[in-house]
């Protein structure tokens, strides 16, 4: 018989989590309400704004368009995990230095999305950066500073490697 609540086991930021969730609970609500990981933000709740972007099994997804129950067995990484591991430290520094955030509401999703692009290696063009963050709304900066920050980090990382 199909159930309204389901037991799930998953890894969140490297730690095992076992919880019973309502089938209707979205991943971002689960992260925020059940696990207290409030770095993932809830903006539009229908996939348009990108504030809830997290990583699931290595790929960025919308936390509001994924159900927690679908994450049974998955590995989920939030901005808290990306911050603690130092993976996005240079991006966070560049965002701060270049005023790529004002209110900061979009920043966790924006950083996760930018890291998804930069992790592919190389130095993407500004057009490619814009295209990759096209699903993340920022209502403060007008995007130029964000593109500047992402581009600067891409150059730094390419330089550090070479």
């Amino acid at each position: 018989m199909p159930k309204h609540s389901v037991d799930i086991c998953l890894t969140v930021n490297g730690e095992s989590v076992a919880e019973r969730v309502d089938a209707r609970t979205t991943l971002v609500d689960f992260l925020r309400e059940t696990l207290g990981l409030t770095g993932s933000h809830i903006g539009c709740e229908h996939g348009v704004c990108g504030a809830c972007t997290v990583r699931m099994n290595g790929e960025i997804v919308r936390g509001c368009l994924t159900l927690a129950v679908q994450c049974d067995g998955a590995s989920v990484e939030t901005i808290e995990g990306l911050s603690d591991s130092g993976e996005v430290a240079d991006l966070q520094r560049a965002f701060e230095e270049r005023n790529a955030l004002q209110c900061g509401f979009c920043t966790p999703g924006m950083v996760a999305t930018a890291q998804d692009l930069l992790a592919r290696g190389g130095v993407p063009s500004r057009a490619e950066i814009r295209e990759h963050i096209s699903g993340n709304y920022c209502r403060c900066t007008g995007y130029h500073a964000i593109v500047d920050a992402v581009e600067a980090v891409a150059r730094q990382r390419a330089g550090a490697k070479g």
């Binding site: 199909p2 159930k3 309204h4 389901v6 309502d22 089938a23 209707r24 979205t26 609500d29 709740e45 229908h46 996939g47 990108g50 972007t53 790929e59 960025i60 997804v61 919308r62 509001c64 368009l65 994924t66 159900l67 129950v69 679908q70 999305t113 998804d116 692009l117 814009r130 295209e131 990759h132 096209s134 699903g135 993340n136």
Partner: protein
């Protein structure tokens, strides 16, 4: 908003999923969920049961058999974007992919889901129609194939029965004389199109034959512009634009007059693409 309560069932086989649909009249299938979960969150739909088909094996394959490319219903947009088989044998799909939503959504959304949902402003239903492909569906009475021309019935309405599941798309593989064209206009990259056009044709000397122009964002379903197809086969882009027999409605994005004008703009762009051989 948050979804209304629903029960959840993770199907392990196609038969199981079909049986759940037959037993629960208002159940919905959960594939990529990128449209469905948005409608649940906004309470535009409130099914009592979601049947998750992501655990059914074998629905995420892309296979070439003879001159037919079969794309499993659970192939995700990102997977299609990276597929060499699709780039070579379905270049129209490859060309449309970057226009579909945003990376985080392409990672989850499925090709089968997009076609089954039949959003009139979505890219893939129009591509399927332009290619003259088929939908493969499984139900209690077995498997059947439905031609794209017969599949899209109305606004978000398809030829699928309530207890049928779309399992694959079948596309004719590109031949040396195949020509394809794709263009769309959207306010933000990745958003639903204001107007879009997917097209296929075959080159015959310096003319085009078998032209199929499938517009999206201009009606309740993806629509073929048959008079413009005929005019383009006669060789005149101006005549084809003049022959565009579309009757779009005003919507939140643009007025009917704007859409009609833009449909002509897109036809000129796509006609130019059709004149050139496909480069992989």
């Amino acid at each position: 908003m948050k979804p209304a309560p629903f029960a959840y069932h993770k199907a392990r086989t196609l038969e199981d999923a079909v049986a759940q649909l037959a037993a629960h009249k208002d159940a919905r299938l959960l594939a990529g969920g990128q449209s469905l979960i948005a409608t649940l969150n906004m309470r535009l739909s409130a099914p009592t049961l979601l049947v998750d088909i992501n655990g059914i094996g074998g629905l995420d394959r892309i296979e070439l058999t003879g001159d037919v490319l079969e794309i499993g219903a659970l192939v995700r947009h990102t997977q299609a974007e990276r597929s060499g088989l699709i780039a070579t044998h379905a270049p129209l799909i490859a060309r449309a992919m970057p226009h579909i939503a945003h990376p985080a959504i392409r990672n989850r959304g499925t090709l089968g889901g997009s076609v089954a949902f039949a959003d009139p402003a979505a890219e893939l239903p129009a591509c399927l129609l332009a290619l003259g492909g088929e939908v493969v569906a499984s139900g209690p009475n077995g498997v059947r194939a439905i031609k794209a021309d017969d599949f899209f019935k109305g606004l978000f309405e398809t030829a699928l029965a309530p207890d049928e599941i779309l399992t694959a798309l079948r596309l004719p593989a590109a031949k040396p004389d195949t020509r394809v064209g794709f263009a769309e206009l959207a306010r933000r990259h990745g958003d639903y199109a204001i107007v879009g056009l997917a097209a296929t044709a075959r080159a015959a000397g310096d003319k085009l034959t078998d032209v199929r122009l499938a517009y999206f964002g201009v009606g309740d379903t993806p629509l073929r512009a048959r008079k413009a197809e005929a005019a383009l086969m006669q060789g005149s882009i101006d005549d084809a634009v003049a022959a565009l027999d579309l009757a779009p409605h005003d919507d939140v994005q643009a007025t009917a007059a704007t859409k009609k004008h833009l449909a002509g703009v897109l036809l000129r762009r796509v006609a130019k693409q059709l004149m050139e051989p496909v480069r992989a």
